[in-house]
Amino acid sequence: MTNAGLYAALAAANHCAAGCSPKDVVWQSGKLRLYRYRPTAQNTSQPSQGVPLLIVYALVNRPYMMDLQEDRSLIRGLLAQGLDIYLIDWGYPDGSDRFTTLTDYIDGLLAGCVEHILRTHRLDALNMLGVCQGGVFSLCFTALHPQRVRNLVTMVTPVDFHTPADLLSKWARKIDVAAWVSGGNISGDALNQLFLSLMPFRLAHQKYVELFMGAPSRAQIETFMRVEQWIFDSPDQAGAAFQEFVVWLYQENRLVRHQLEIAGRKIDLRALTLPVLNLIGSKDHLVPRDASAALERVVGSKDYTALEFALGHIGMYISARAQHEVPVAIARWLAAR
């Protein structure tokens, strides 16, 4: 393909929308939407008879990365394993959300989703899968409401924010976050710039060169554009929650020190005794391996399993290897409990 041809193909792929599996909005509160995915063709049994799995995504970036396209979808993989999947979409905060706190997100919105699902299924507890920052939210929620979560899966979740490889944390330590937030929101563009700055040559240059030199097929171009959309489709961050997250976790590392308080209550991970599966990307530049693996030494559960994949942060969601291995690992682990 010539450069002009590739350029035209990329422009033509602008329309490619991420997200592929049929789903329904089953509950909403403010900008939050709770989706329930319909069973896939491969699995038309009655998944609702089992314990549903609630995926708690991060506030940073959009949750459609979990279901990017048919052959790159963790959610499709989980549906194919017969699981009943719910997903939280936090929405795009605007200026009116600037005072939304971590307590509002975790003990308000997340708790509302859980209550809705439990009421629907007439259950006392559900399974929870927390992704990245959503993993931190899941740990906090479980610590606040241990009776509501039966099994907990964390995926590329930072727990120890002061590991040597954690560049974001080093940068954040001396920043006056209160002045940065200054009563407003933090723009998604600013965060994009920050994330690109972690590996500027690879993320802002090499990946495009690779695309141009690789003679990509139409399908590869479309995948590339969907990932590109996901990377830069970054919601603004509600100022108050952002400030709490950066100060309490990145600067003060309270979670691993059992000093974090949400809704006026202490988050003590030593008190978590439920089964925990921790999925770690050993090549993750955003959440370093050690930052995730630290969960083992602080969680109280005797049923703790860690699975490491030689993948990066994004690769954990959409790489070919992840498609084959991650959903199966989660389903097997859940089935055994």
Partner: protein, 267 residues
Amino acid sequence: MGNDPWSHWKAFAARSEQSQHNPFTPFLDSAESFAAAARKYLEDARHAPAAEEAARTFSHFLREQSMVFFQPPWSADATTGSAPWAAMLDAPALGLTREHQQRWQRTADAARRVGEAQRRLQCLWSDALRDAATAFAARVAASGIAIPSIGAPSVATLRSLYDSWIDCAEEAYAGTAHSDSFCNALADFVNASSQWRREFAASVEQWSKLMDLPTRSELNSLILRLKSAEEQLRAERQQHELRDAASKPRPTPRASRTRRAKRNPKS
């Protein structure tokens, strides 16, 4: 030059006028100094013992040049304390407009600190790129990648060179980005930018009030009031639900009604 505001203003006006006559002066000065430094480097580099020192001196000159390139005009002489701007930053705040003057001074000072931090970051970037280039040259020499003397190199060779360059650049950058000096410069940049934005926003609010336009502070007050009202409403609704749940009739409703009737016969 006197130290009164009028003298400062006249000096500033004269300076502006001068630069209007020849707006290319800074560029010409820069080109001349570059030519002089390059000439010196080429002369010194002819002699083997001095060549290394000459390269270092020239590299240092380029580094300084890159810092000056990113220097905003208002802070050009601020560090020397000789410019009218520098003196105006410290001018005493007196009289009716003292609060506004202080806000402008804080804004200008924050802008100066943004520029300083930006130059430090630029300098660190420059060091990282220099280290990357050195590492890349060493890696290419060690790897024995053959670049044909005649004709274009193959795509595979170019790709290999490119990937090597990216690896070297990321490694050098990571070394810099993890350093205390980079973290400090970045934090100073963000903190100064935050202060500048806050002071600027305060000025905008001041003008908005004069024009009787709604301000961000007023909107924030309303959002906080609304949030507080919503929280109260939610809490009351929860309490109401709890009361409802507690007062739900038992599975044997007839017996329950009977007991209640006995306890409170008037109801």
